[in-house]
Every structure is written in structure tokens, then in C-alpha cells.
Symmetry: C2
Subunit: 195 residues, 2 copies
DNA sequence: ACCATAACCGGAACTGGTTCCGGTTTCAAG
DNA sequence: CTTGAAACCGGAACCAGTTCCGGTTATGGT
């Protein structure tokens, strides 16, 4: 939490001015607290107030609310990604992929309003967003395990699978019926495995 | 265009007052014009001004921007749905389904900001929204054709397929890369057909 | 130590969706 | 024709995200 300093909000070419760095840290801490309390649909003004800075300061550091959300949850997403190799090693490929997908969807569902942020993360390909790369890598790992056993089709690109997961999160987030996400994952999985 | 009077914005139990009906017609015409000119992300205030009414009037008739969009495009969506039986009759089931899906995605892509409206339409199950029922029926028709030849799996429910299409529209709408939608449709199709 | 300036700060202001409410109009019953 | 009230009208007000800009401050060169 509050990040290890190694990547506050993507490395810059020149280091941040001292006051700027301090405010960035405050903002991340405040955002984590406010989102945990009110959900990710809390207002950015609340976050700024909690951090004791103006909204202008928040926006200079995080150009949109989605990118702030991305920064706050970067660490958790990273953990999710790091679980992929273990799953790939301990389960049959299809089960590993399904399990990981379910965890992914559960994570998205847990934070309200996360799906919109995810779309930005998956779409905006500025190199700063290591989160995207980490996700792609995690899926690639799971797909590779399947391909190596001839269990998954070559046409299934990790980027596409991620996009599909993003779409599922978005749609499932609006529906109360809990089974939807599971059924859509089944559909997607069936589209990935070899026939 | 401007609807045939048979369903201005979902039938009510008591008919509309004369002035209300007039304003509803004006609003639909204005919305169609403004959306055609500025895309579906035009502001509702513009629509209200163009119609010569206040935003309050607009909101009494269309409780959210999404529902206004739904009303404006209801007719076009209906036409899309009506094409399903013809496709099912003239093409092999899988080709028919793919063709219809591509048309669907193209339609969604043509109107900017349509995916959000679609989510509301697919999610909100008040009976008023015949659009949802029409879409489900169209997909069901295509799936039934496939099932009858043993070409498609029983597990693929029309509602789920629609939700998946909605997710694809949403994600593809953000990405510039044009191939994405097509690849996701392939993935989905492959999840539907029997292996 | 001083200064020039680039970087930063905060909040007022703007835009867009949505709600609220005081005043008006239609309509049907008497 | 009168009249009471349900339905309707418009826009002011509200809240969200985002942008802008006049004033401030840290920092590297002298």
C-alpha cells in the first residue's frame, strides 16, 4: 500500500520537485482511503480534500479519474498478475485460465466503477502504464501453457482475451444476476480452447 | 423517422396530454437531428434547446440520456432485428450469425456513445423497452437455426450472447485499431459453435 | 546568498447530466 | 361555463469531472 516509492505514478525523466512528490504521496494515500470507504465512485473532490490539496494538483498528477484509480489499484492488480505463473504450474491449462479469469472478474466487481478505469488502462498504450503490460503478460503465460499442450487455439491473442474480460466486467457490473459473469467466462473459454 | 405514432416512447396506461405529446414529438425529432449532427454524445441541453423546451420536460419524458438515445434509435435497431430471419433463411447458420453480429457492431460503432445506452437497454428489464425483447428474439432466431443443425451449443443463451456483444461494442469503441471487434467476434463465435 | 524561471499550487469557473419546485395548463366532472 | 386538481412546464440549482490561470515556491546557476 502507498507504494514502495519505485513507481509512485510512473517514472519521469527528471525527478519530482519535493513538494510535488509529497503531494503525490498524500493523494495516493487519500485516494486509497476514500475509495476503500466510499467505493471507486467517490468524487475526486473528496480525495483532494482528504489529501489537503486542490483538485488542480490532483489533476496535474493524475490526468483523469481513471488514471488515479489505476494508480491506486496498481499494486493489487500486480499481485493478481503474479499469481498467473503459479496457477499455470499447478493446474491443467484450461482450469488455470478459468480460475485466473474468475479472480479477475471478482476483483473488478469488488471495486465499483473499476470497469471504466480498466478500459482506459487497456486502451491507452502509453508505456507508463505498466499495468497493461503486466496483464498481457499474465494472460500470455496462461495461454502459452495451454498452447504447449495443444489445448488452446493460436488465434486467441492475450490482448483480445483481456479486452473480452474487460467487456465482461463492464456488462456484468450493471446486472444484478450473479451468474452472468460465469456464463460469459464459459463462452469465452470455449472460444479459446481447441475444438 | 420520427416514429409512426404507434410507439412514441412506450405506451402509457392513460394517453398523453396534448401538450405533452407535442413536446415528446418535438424532442424525438430534435434528438434525432442533434445526434445525427454531433453524435450521440451531444448534450441533452442542446437537444432541449433545439426542441424549444426546458431540460425538465425532456427528463420527465426520458428519465435518462440513455433512454432518450434508445428511443431515437429504436426504429433502426428494429430494422436490424428484422433482418435476422432473412439471414437465417439465406445463409448457413454460422455465417448468418456472424453477419448479423458484424452489422450489430457496425451499427454501435457508427453512433458514438451508444454502448453505454445499450448496457442500460440490455440491463433494465422494464417491459417498456421492447428493444431488448426484439434483440433477444433476433439472436434466439439465429441460434435456433444453428442448433437445429447441431452447429451451435445449447449453452449459448441469447441474452448472454447479447451481453457479450455489448461488451465488445464497449471495448472496441475505445480502441482505434479496427481489427479488434472482428477478432472478438471470432472468439465469441468460436465459443458458440459446437466443437 | 541571490535571482530567474520552470514547476507547482489551489480554487474559481466551465461543461454535462440530473433533480427540484413554483407557476401554468389541460381536462373532466359538476 | 366553472373549477379543482392532476399533469405538465421551464429553468434554476446541484453535483460530477475537468480546465484554466494568477499567484507562489523550489531549485540550479551565478
Amino acid at each position: 500500500m502507498a507504494d514502495n516509492g519505485e513507481d509512485g505514478a510512473a517514472r519521469r525523466h527528471r525527478p519530482l520537485r519535493a513538494d510535488a512528490k509529497r503531494n503525490e504521496d498524500r493523494l495516493l494515500k487519500a485516494a486509497a482511503a476514500v475509495f476503500a470507504r466510499d467505493g471507486a465512485d467517490a468524487s475526486v473532490k473528496d480525495v483532494a480534500r482528504e489529501a489537503g490539496v486542490g483538485v488542480g494538483t490532483l489533476y496535474r498528477r493524475f490526468p483523469s479519474k481513471e488514471l488515479l484509480i489505476e494508480a491506486v489499484y496498481r499494486h493489487e492488480v500486480r499481485l493478481l498478475c503474479e499469481a498467473a505463473p503459479e496457477l499455470a504450474a499447478s493446474l491443467p491449462p484450461v482450469d488455470a485460465l478459468r480460475t485466473w479469469m474468475e479472480r479477475f472478474i471478482d476483483f473488478m466487481a469488488a471495486k465499483h466503477g473499476m470497469a471504466g478505469a480498466l478500459r482506459v488502462v487497456l486502451t491507452d498504450d502509453s508505456e507508463r502504464l505498466q499495468t497493461r503490460a503486466a496483464l498481457v503478460q499474465a494472460v500470455e503465460r496462461l495461454l502459452a501453457a495451454g498452447r504447449s499442450q495443444g489445448a488452446m487455439r493460436e488465434q486467441a491473442k492475450p490482448q483480445d482475451v483481456l479486452m473480452a474480460l474487460g467487456g465482461i466486467s463492464y456488462m456484468a457490473g450493471a446486472e444484478q444476476e450473479p451468474g452472468l459473469a460465469t456464463r460469459l467466462i464459459d463462452l469465452l473459454l470455449h472460444g479459446i480452447v481447441t475444438s
